[in-house]
Subunit: 253 residues, 2 copies
């Protein structure tokens, strides 16, 4: 397939490289910032453009990997291309892609991408939706070449999944940051807590999290909880988070 990538951020970078790696023909990268477009295009041996009217009209597949609030504008800029146009957003409706487009879909990789960390697409769940059965089959075929976890999800389910991902990924990483704030304040290195973080994630690879909850709140150990709350007296923000999550734990299990 002849593919144009619209965007140059983390998703654009990782996805375009993965598409090239399975032998697809990534021919062009668009970004409003030409330097950004060129940087990625050079890695892909593709051309780079920074105006939507310069995007080729005869690609088979257009992948819109831009910020959610720019998807509509970019898709409208593609005018009436015949190729299949997909966005990669968890929170955006399929219908946000311009109504003048004939072939549309969603290709949402459920993963957290960082610029400087390689990641294999094999284990990345790909969540698909399309405006026709035929277009879905095109996406499904492609997705199965990239990953062994492919799901067909409508917009409502995709949005729930995105919300769940905020809890399981974004909020979790923030808890790591708060833990590190406590460590740094006491001249302890983050290294000391890394094995615990790794094992906490590893435990739920084979268990459901509700079956492996540990800690003072699930034991209803009020003595330790109160000690911790008083240790956080000068950090009211952390104290509030401690209180909120501990109350939730006590109610949940």
């Amino acid at each position: 397939m002849k593919i144009a990538i619209l965007g140059s951020g983390n998703v654009a970078t990782h996805l375009s490289k993965a598409l090239k790696a399975i032998g697809e023909d990534v021919v062009q990268v668009y970004s409003p910032n030409l330097e950004h477009a060129k940087l990625l295009a050079d890695e892909l041996q593709a051309s780079s453009v920074n105006h939507l009217e310069q995007v080729i009209g005869d690609a088979d597949f257009y992948v819109v990997c831009v910020k959610d609030d720019a998807i509509a504008t970019v898709a409208t800029g593609l005018k009436d291309v015949d190729g299949l146009v997909v966005h990669t957003s968890g929170t955006t409706d399929l219908e946000t892609l311009s109504s003048t487009l004939k072939n549309t879909g969603v290709f949402y990789p459920l993963q957290t991408f960082s610029k400087h960390k390689e990641i294999s697409f094999n284990n990345i769940p790909l969540c698909l939706e399309a405006n026709s059965e035929a277009n879905f089959e095109i996406l499904n075929l492609l997705a199965n070449k990239l990953s062994n976890q492919v799901y067909q999800l409508d917009g409502e389910k995709r949005k729930v999944l995105h919300l769940a991902a905020v809890f399981a990924c974004n909020f979790t990483n923030h808890l790591y940051t708060l833990a590190n704030q406590l460590l740094e304040k006491n001249n302890l290195d983050f290294e000391i807590i890394r094995p615990l973080i790794a094992e906490t994630a590893d435990k739920v690879m084979v268990n459901l999290p509700e079956n492996v909850q540990t800690g003072p709140a699930v034991r209803k150990d009020e003595i330790t909880i109160n000690k911790h709350l008083s240790m956080l007296a000068d950090l009211p923000e952390l104290q509030e988070i401690y209180q909120t999550l501990s109350s939730s734990i006590k109610l949940t299990y």
Copy 2:
């Protein structure tokens, strides 16, 4: 070293097996519940007892792995043994071990243990404290045989570490549970989110978490945040957690 284990829970089980595996002589397991003591003792080919006065008096090393609020009682029950008596608690002062004991210490493994999941002690940070330089050296020698991450930490730092661990492990696992609640409610399988959880933890093995935060709150994407809050309208507990953590993220980065 001739070792007696006081306790039969997760820490007692994992630690006693690790001690046996490096060639130490684990001779006895005490638990107020004889059946529990026997279950672990059989695995270790040790004897089992359920009264503190039955605990052997001539062990070199007594490992008290009982609930925090039972440590004082068990230590007092050991009366005036000469061997080195340690507890394994993150939150308990060294001084909680009876003042009649001559040789005392803390041997705190910073890890989350589950009954049915094997774990190698190699990468478990062991946090040590002792009531004398000589006793510290005994602990240090033993700890270095078990793990390549050994730290000398006083009670204050150990308590901070334990508190940080609640954020990085217990609260994190609870966020996984909340994510799964959202998924289950919408007939989505937890499997779909496992790769994201694994990668979120993996990212901070080489980065500091404050450098890899992603998601709507750190982007100050109020449109997505408000969509998510309205999706949680019928789950006020999750809505509060979403709000509290998003506010904290917006203030932190």
